[in-house]
């Protein structure tokens, strides 16, 4: 091998648009590597459109994910991003939001990432009601690890790890989020990008923790919950006159899993978000932009207290 071939290839310089003129201007440096037909394309497109229609600037947006097929999403966005650890998008996003509350923070990931390994964080992020929008691409299966059951897989589902059928009841992310204090809880379908875009726009504008669970079919590893399955069943809550301020009705609708699967806004409440309630953030810019170190008065007071 000659010396020349040992030289690493240089990364192409891409100048991403600073003021998007179209949804496509929110596209990132690289194209998605998802399987053709994956539901996540619809989610990505809807998110790019939502960000565009809200007039967001890429540098004011932070997209944080965990690990999994859908967690590759930040790399496909023209925005600041953190592609973190499996199940840990929410605590990373929380730390980031608190350190720079001027940013719009969106967390993304899959059902295994958010409802399985990261399930504990979902519960606590919901009760904190921090101003983060969490978009979960729920395909009821583990895709990147090549097809095992997930926390939202149906009973009796056959996968590589449940060749005789799944014995474990799936979790309900919507009722969990409502019960734990999330203040915007919705469900979308990647096969209806227009509706999904609206849910995202409202979720991003909502001041508090927003969970948007999205039916995002895995065309490779889930033959049970494919596009036709959802297309035949999804029904918009808007069409049945659901009142999102009624948590009991929201939970009833969220519990339905049969011939009808509801999409839309299940629940919405007004409660101060953590970042709005936190006195440390009341005055001055983002924490990350404040001067470091102690003032002369602070030094004096701290020493006096120790004497």
């Amino acid at each position: 091998m000659t010396e020349a071939t040992l030289k690493p290839p240089t990364t192409a310089t891409v100048s991403l648009p600073r003021t998007p003129a179209a949804p496509k201007d929110f596209k990132g440096r690289v194209e998605p590597d998802w399987c053709p037909g994956c539901g996540d394309f619809g989610v990505l497109n809807a998110l790019q459109r939502a960000c565009f229609e809200l007039g967001l600037k890429p540098h004011q947006l932070l997209v944080v994910s965990g690990i999994g097929c859908s967690s590759n999403l930040p790399g496909y966005m023209n925005a600041y991003g953190m592609h973190t650890l499996h199940g840990r998008s929410l605590p990373h996003a929380t730390g980031a939001k608190l350190a720079n509350h001027e940013l719009t923070v969106i967390a993304t990931g899959g059902d295994g990432d958010g409802y399985g390994i990261g399930g504990n964080h979902l519960m606590h992020t919901a009760r904190r009601n921090i101003d983060i929008t969490y978009i979960v691409m729920d395909n009821q299966v583990y895709g990147l690890t090549t097809g095992q059951i997930s926390p939202t897989s149906r009973l009796d589902m056959k996968t590589k790890t449940t060749p005789h059928g799944n014995l474990e009841w799936p979790i309900n992310p919507l009722t969990s989020a409502i019960m734990n204090g999330a203040t915007y809880v919705a469900r979308g379908f990647s096969g209806d990008p227009k509706h999904l875009t609206e849910l995202m726009k409202n979720g991003i504008q909502h001041k508090g923790f927003a969970l948007i669970d999205v039916f995002s079919p895995c065309v490779t590893f889930n033959n049970d919950n494919d596009y036709p399955f959802f297309k035949q069943r999804v029904k918009k809550l808007e069409d049945i006159g659901h009142d999102p301020s009624d948590w009991k009705s929201a939970c009833e609708r969220a519990m339905e899993w049969g011939d009808t699967l509801y999409t839309g806004l299940f629940f919405r409440a007004d409660r101060p978000s953590l970042d709005a309630a936190e006195p440390v953030l009341q005055n001055g810019p983002a924490l990350a932009r404040r001067p470091l170190g102690l003032t002369a008065e602070q030094q004096k007071a701290l020493k006096a207290r120790m004497m």
Binding site: S15, R88, L287
Partner: protein, 593 residues
């Protein structure tokens, strides 16, 4: 008590819930205000009520290096304390006890038994811990101190509870003081006065304050002994200092929030003990891969697993060295004492930010939960802050590569939110722009480039860390080598060995990584006998020393019973090693707590 200069240890023993901390704190304040130095160690159990607690508070006219191995004044708040510790007092010692319900044991000749008729002296007080106040009065008299010192300290500490409480306590303290003056013989020398008032802090306070001085803006934690003191300090002071403080659902969340905040550009840290650090471990690697300067503090307690939650050990050295999968560098500092811990915080933040990598502080229960005096002028609350190559202004062109492969390996870092630098950081291996390399064709050239870049930046910054040096005589029969909190007790042992005509010196290691293998090898090249002193069973530090330098210690002093080393343990160990050729000396803990 020494004839010349003050070196006195007060021990207060009782059950949890008997209020031992309060008289301890009041004494500490009185001594420090008088300019006297102190070092206190509180031996306790993982229990809220009951059990046995022994607070040892050693006070001196010069810097106190350890809690020592002697008691001069023992306050027994219950029978158990009397039964356990009376035998440890020698000639000239004083034992205080409530003669209403504690029976004195058989004391050595020369020990002064000082019974306190508590009911008679405190009258009809309904205060359950009034005997503590009474005892303080007695102790002040025995120490030959003016009563006004105590009256002032009590008033200050109780003022919030109202004038009646102050009045009752000062009255009872006075009764104790007068009773002692009439009945007990005080120590020969009255309490001296130091040159200037000193401050008092616990090691965890020092860590928290050091962080605040270093510019920490974000602190997260899950409560865990013996690290909770940092969280308590932060919760108390954070709001006023503009520090975001969060108690999080678990240590995984803690570590990830810390990284999230640090990546945004806020100096961020978190503290825990070994068990919590185990949960943080994956995130330490995430910080390394994303190149985020987050600081993790592990306050060691005796393990493994839940272990002995309220006891000390230096057993997590391997854990921090090997924390997280993969091959990467992280700074690891093991402070020698509370003041060193305070100073280590800005040091490690500067290093971590310059090298854009994780930093780990390795404290232990002895430092973190001990209470010490500190010269207020020695606390630099305005330390140098070096944030490394940080971009804060918008970029005019926008062709930013987060992981640009530079000569030093350091890629200028930007605060997210800045226009023109949009990028994604990833825990997957990535190229210079931050684009993942692992999903399609995993490019071996880029992988190698990035591994080398991260190693190079660490080396570039690590070379600025000062190497350790031998302390004490250049030529010595024995060179004692330790890391972290053993510094003070080894220093005291070296002085005591000199009194016995054994020449010893010390090589104290503060920086675990970078280790300075060359400097350590050179420092130990002429050592006649190398003895590694550490607070664990397997000799983790001795193995590390051998791995980094090829130097095999001649002998070892190891303690792993949950209690810290005292000077006597080391002196006895060195003598045993010199005379018996002992390979591993394990001291016996005399004070049973």
């Amino acid at each position: 008590m020494s004839d010349k200069t003050l070196d006195l240890t007060i021990a207060i023993g009782g059950a949890a819930g008997q209020g031992i901390a309060t008289p301890g704190n009041i004494l500490a304040k009185i001594f420090a205000r008088r300019g006297l130095h102190l070092y206190s160690y509180n031996a306790h159990q993982s229990i809220i009520r009951g059990g046995h607690i022994l607070l040892m508070l050693r006070v001196g006219e010069t810097e106190v290096l350890s809690h020592g191995d002697r008691m001069d004044l023992l306050l027994c708040l219950n029978q158990d304390t009397m039964d356990r510790h009376l035998r440890l007092l020698g000639e000239g010692g004083r034992v205080l006890y409530n003669s209403d319900d504690v029976e004195p044991g058989e004391a050595d000749p020369g020990v002064h038994l000082c019974p306190m008729p508590v009911k008679q002296l405190t009258g009809d007080s309904k205060n359950k811990v009034i005997q503590n106040t009474l005892s303080l009065g007695v102790m002040m008299s025995l120490l030959g101190a003016d009563f006004s010192l105590l009256a002032e300290a009590l008033t200050q500490s109780l003022v919030k509870k109202g004038p009646e409480v102050v009045q009752e306590n000062v009255g009872v303290a006075r009764a104790g003081y007068d009773h002692a003056a009439a009945n007990f013989e005080p120590f020969p020398n009255p309490l001296p006065q130091g040159p200037k008032p000193l401050a008092v802090w616990a090691g965890n306070d020092a860590i928290a304050l050091g962080g605040a001085a270093a510019g920490v803006k974000f602190y997260a934690a899950y409560p865990m002994s013996p690290a909770s003191g940092v969280l308590h300090w932060m919760a108390q002071n954070g709001r006023g200092l503009g520090i975001m403080v969060r108690q999080v659902e678990d240590e995984i969340g803690v570590a990830c929030m810390t990284i999230g905040a640090a990546h945004m550009g806020a100096r961020a840290m978190c503290a825990t003990s070994g068990g919590g650090f185990a949960l943080m471990t994956e995130a330490v690697g995430a910080a390394a891969m994303m190149e985020v300067p987050a600081v993790f503090i592990n306050v060691m307690r005796a393990g493994p697993s839940t272990g002995v939650p309220t006891k000390t050990e230096q057993g997590d050295l391997r854990q921090v060295l090997g924390a997280s999968q993969g091959d990467f560098e992280r700074f690891i500092v093991a402070p020698k004492n509370a003041l060193d811990a305070f100073n280590s915080m800005p040091e490690i933040f500067n290093l971590a930010e310059r090298a854009q990598c994780p930093g780990i502080v390795l404290s232990d229960l002895l430092i973190s939960e001990g209470t010490f005096s500190v010269d207020p002028d020695a606390m630099n609350l305005r330390p140098e802050i070096d944030r490394g190559e940080l971009l804060v202004d918008p970029s005019p062109n926008g062709d930013y590569h987060r992981y640009a492969d530079t000569e030093t390996g350091i890629s200028p870092r930007v605060l997210p939110g800045t226009e023109g630098y949009v990028h994604v950081v990833a825990t997957d291996e990535h190229d210079e722009a931050g684009v993942l390399i692992s999903d399609e064709f995993t490019n071996p050239f880029i992988r190698r480039q990035m591994v080398e870049k991260r190693a190079r930046k660490f080396e570039h910054v690590a070379r600025d860390v000062a190497p350790p040096a031998i302390e004490g005589p250049k030529k010595a029969d024995v060179t004692l080598v330790g890391f972290g909190s053993t510094y003070g007790v080894i220093k005291e042992a070296v002085a005591r060995l000199a009194e016995q005509d054994v020449e010893a010196n010390q090589l104290a290691i503060k920086w675990i990584v970078p280790f300075h293998a060359d400097a350590v090898t050179k420092a130990l090249a002429k050592a006649k006998r190398i003895v590694v002193v550490e607070n664990n069973f397997t000799g983790q530090f001795a193995q590390y020393l051998r791995g980094e330098t090829g130097i095999t210690a001649h002998a070892h002093i190891r303690k792993y019973d949950g209690e810290p080393l005292t000077p006597r343990h080391i002196v006895d160990g060195v003598l045993d090693i010199l005379h018996q050729e002992t390979a591993v000396y394990v001291p016996t803990q005399e004070i049973l707590v």
